[in-house]
């Protein structure tokens, strides 16, 4: 419970920072002040300034928007495509549709999100949209698999049989009976994929396959800080902590949700 609250707190702080940055930041991230460059943390700049004299705190606040947006849309793609696929596969267990969906899943699983990003970038050039697509595509088989696994065990229940006796078809049963009973699991998996998405976005931006300048991004801030790490370590420490706390918060939140939601699921299993 303490862990859950800590997670909720961290996530709210990050979401709050991203929301506030829409209307106000301590210092405009576009404004450069070379005279003020590479300042360690002070009262005026709690996280110091970078090599252009920009306020690191402001950049982290704006960077939170990129991270959240990319990860959220990627989870949306994964769920939007993966969940219906998983439901369809389970409803046609052992049939050709199930076979195609599962083989397709295996195939996508063979392409780590970074490799997908590399392929997309090689083809269309780097951008934040690529990062979203790459992480989103990677999320599809994850959600399809989780949904199918849970749905398969639900399909063997007597109450699904009762629905069939009541003349309901596979699609209707999937929507009315199966989906509400896998929703908890999907919420939990959603938070996990959300946090993995934040990490993946940071990694892609770090190697230059994600958001391009001037869009601020935690991963690129880290990449830029690397050459200066020996004399300006604050440039590396704060964006890293931002990623760490965001991911930690989401994971704690996900674990707490699972503990809160799962016992019911377990009991009925």
């Amino acid at each position: 419970m303490i862990a859950f609250r800590l997670g909720l707190f961290l996530v709210l702080v990050v979401l709050g920072a991203a929301a506030v940055s829409l209307v106000w930041v301590p210092q405009d991230v576009g404004a450069m002040a070379i005279a003020n460059k590479l300042k360690p943390p002070t009262l005026a700049h709690p996280m110091g300034t970078d090599h252009f004299g920009r306020d690191v705190l402001s950049m982290i606040m704006v960077g939170a928007r990129t991270s959240i947006a990319v990860a959220l849309v990627a989870v949306g793609i994964g769920m939007g495509v993966g969940v219906p696929l998983g439901l369809a596969a389970a409803a046609n267990r052992g049939g050709w549709l199930d076979e195609i969906i599962m083989r397709g899943n295996d195939l996508v699983f063979a392409f780590p999100s970074l490799v997908i990003a590399i392929l997309i970038t090689a083809t269309f050039g780097p951008s934040a949209v690529n990062a979203i697509l790459a992480i989103g595509i990677f999320n599809i088989p994850v959600f399809a698999r989780v949904t199918r696994g849970a749905a398969l065990s639900l399909w063997t229940r007597d109450w699904v049989m009762a629905a069939r006796v009541a003349g309901k078809g596979r699609v209707r049963i999937s929507v009315e009976h199966i989906l509400p009973n896998v929703a908890n699991l999907l919420i939990v998996q959603g938070t996990i994929q959300f946090s993995l998405g934040i990490l993946a976005e940071a990694g892609l931006s770090y190697v230059g396959l994600g958001a391009q300048p001037p869009t601020p991004s935690w991963g690129r801030m880290l990449a830029e800080s690397q050459t200066m790490i020996s004399f300006a370590p604050h440039l590396a420490i704060f964006p890293g902590l931002a990623i760490l706390f965001t991911v930690l918060g989401l994971n704690l939140l996900g674990d707490g949700l699972r503990d809160a939601l799962d016992p019911r699921l377990r009991r009925s299993r």
Partner: protein, 525 residues
């Protein structure tokens, strides 16, 4: 000589009392039957003797086994006791064995833990134990894995593990509940023989009075964590005194009052039905098909209650699904009210048939309220919302619940109440035929008696027709007019229930009836 003495045993799990002053005694060479419904604490008593309890459990009182105070022993001393002085057999043979280890190794492990003279010696003695458990290695090599054995064979492996070191006490916790009736009879006689041969004390725990009655020297009846009555097994015939034990005995042999079926017209006609399941696809083509239902023919008349009896895997569930029009048949025909039954049949035909399943806990979507659950069959015959509501309330009241229960979720109800709700759901479209698929098998005997009464009452009042599928001859005797016996996909015998059960013609029916445990007759209750 007293082998096991339990004296005023109290136990609480996480502060919640489970046992309240249990006292039992068991002598060497004696069979003690412990009887109780679910939640009576009978299994917990057994686990307390083994001291295999959840971490949150706290015991007080005394458990003396072979002269040792079990509650005073530390964990290493308890480990030295378990397996050597006391062995245990569990309810669920399908999960009691490690799936990744051969049966020989698993039996040998008991020996090596307590008396290690090398693997060869242990395997030799394991072979001996398996032979005594009637699973001789000549026919069932010790290199087999559990998944290569049937449920009854796996239970023999568990028994071999428990008796390998010839312990003084054997605890059998519902050892045959998960098994078919013929296998049950074999396992029970095996346990009795082993106890007799080794002079071993046997504590036999069961929910089924009849199982215990055939085997026990003494019985103890438990309710809500207490022993309400104990004494020689002859108590069952000479008269129990405690009201609960009398009620339990009465419920076990309960026969609901029924009018009996009238000779209506034929409502369901099944002719030469064959249902094959295709074999697995392999690299060399398809394996041969499995024939689950093999040329079954019968009629059900309106108002009749027809029983279908058979052991697991005989095809009765497959036949049920075919009759419900959920699966196609390969040959033959099923006609209901003169129309053909098949997976694509019309909703009006479907609405005439409903079903009640075995497991009251798995029969309902946990996220729906009772009103929506019971109203689900209206999908077949849509009615206006207020009519549906009225009919749901009516159905709930018909099964002895209140209309106000509509607003509740299913987890707020007990197993027996859930089975009533399942019956309400089956009634709501006012069908002609209800299939009862082991509908009372998962219920405690006292609840089962009430549900049987309800079913008898409903069929009399509403003129319902039942197809009653069960493995339990006692239940079939109580609720059906005619009975069919099914074996390996075929109907081997049909006839009026009383006649088939008292004068069976087919050898299989005879074997079934002989194997079914029965209560001794006397001035019962």
């Amino acid at each position: 000589m007293t082998l096991l003495a339990i004296d005023n045993l109290h136990m609480a799990i996480a502060g919640h009392p489970v046992l309240r002053g249990v006292s039992l005694e068991l002598a060497a060479g004696e069979v003690l039957g412990v009887i109780g419904e679910s939640g009576s604490g009978k299994s917990m008593t057994a686990f307390a003797v083994m001291q295999l309890l959840p971490d949150a459990a706290r015991c007080s009182g005394r458990i003396t086994l072979a002269g040792r105070d079990m509650l005073a022993l530390d964990e290493p001393a308890l480990c030295a006791m378990r397996g050597r002085y006391v062995g245990m057999v569990f309810q669920e043979p399908m999960t009691a064995l490690n799936p990744l280890q051969t049966i020989g190794d698993q039996v040998a492990e008991t020996i090596r833990i307590h008396d290690d003279r090398g693997q060869d010696d242990a395997l030799r003695r394991a072979a001996d134990a398996l032979t005594r458990a009637e699973l001789p290695p000549e026919r069932f090599p010790m290199t087999r894995y559990p998944h290569e054995l049937s449920g009854g064979q796996r239970q023999r492996v568990v028994i071999a593990m428990a008796i390998a070191l010839r312990p003084r006490l054997l605890i059998a916790d519902e050892p045959t509940t998960a098994l078919d009736v013929t296998t049950q009879a074999q396992i029970l006689s095996l346990l009795a023989r082993l106890a007799r041969e080794d002079g071993m004390g046997l504590m036999l725990i069961s929910h089924d009075l009849a199982v215990v009655a055939g085997l026990a020297d003494r019985i103890a009846i438990m309710q809500a964590g207490q022993v309400v009555e104990q004494g020689p097994v002859s108590l069952l015939t000479r008269g129990l005194t405690h009201p609960y034990s009398r009620a339990l005995l009465a419920a076990s042999t309960h026969q609901p009052a029924r009018d009996g079926g009238d000779d209506g017209d034929v409502i369901l006609r099944v002719r030469d039905v064959v249902r094959d399941y295709p074999g697995r696809r392999t690299l060399r083509g398809r394996a041969p098909a499995f024939r689950a239902v093999d040329g079954v023919s019968f009629d059900i008349r309106r108002g009749e209650s027809l029983g279908l009896v058979g052991e697991s895997g005989c095809g009765k569930s497959t036949l049920t699904r075919a009759i419900l029009g959920l699966e196609p048949v390969q040959r033959g025909s099923i006609t209901f009210r003169g129309q053909a039954v098949h997976p694509a049949m019309g909703n009006d035909l479907r609405a005439g048939m409903q079903v009640v399943f075995q497991d009251p806990y798995g029969s309902f979507n946990p996220r729906w309220r009772v009103d929506r659950l019971v109203a689900e069959p209206f999908h077949l015959a849509p009615v206006a919302p207020d009519v549906a509501r009225h009919r749901v309330a009516e159905a709930l009241e018909a099964v002895g619940l209140r209309a106000s229960d509509m607003q509740k979720y299913i987890h707020e109800f007990s197993g027996g109440q859930r089975q009533r709700i399942a019956i309400a759901r089956a009634l709501v479209t006012r069908p002609d035929l209800i299939l009862l698929d082991e509908a009372v098998s998962a219920l405690d005997v006292s609840v089962r008696a009430q549900v049987l009464d309800l079913l008898a009452d409903l069929s009399d009042r509403l003129g319902l027709t039942y197809l009653f599928i069960s493995h339990d001859l006692t239940v079939v005797r109580a609720i059906t007019d005619r009975v069919m016996v099914m074996q390996a996909g075929r109907i081997v015998e049909t006839g009026p229930t009383a006649q088939v059960l008292t004068a069976p013609q087919h050898p299989y029916t005879r074997a079934l009836i002989a194997a079914a445990p029965t209560l001794p007759t006397g001035d019962a209750a």
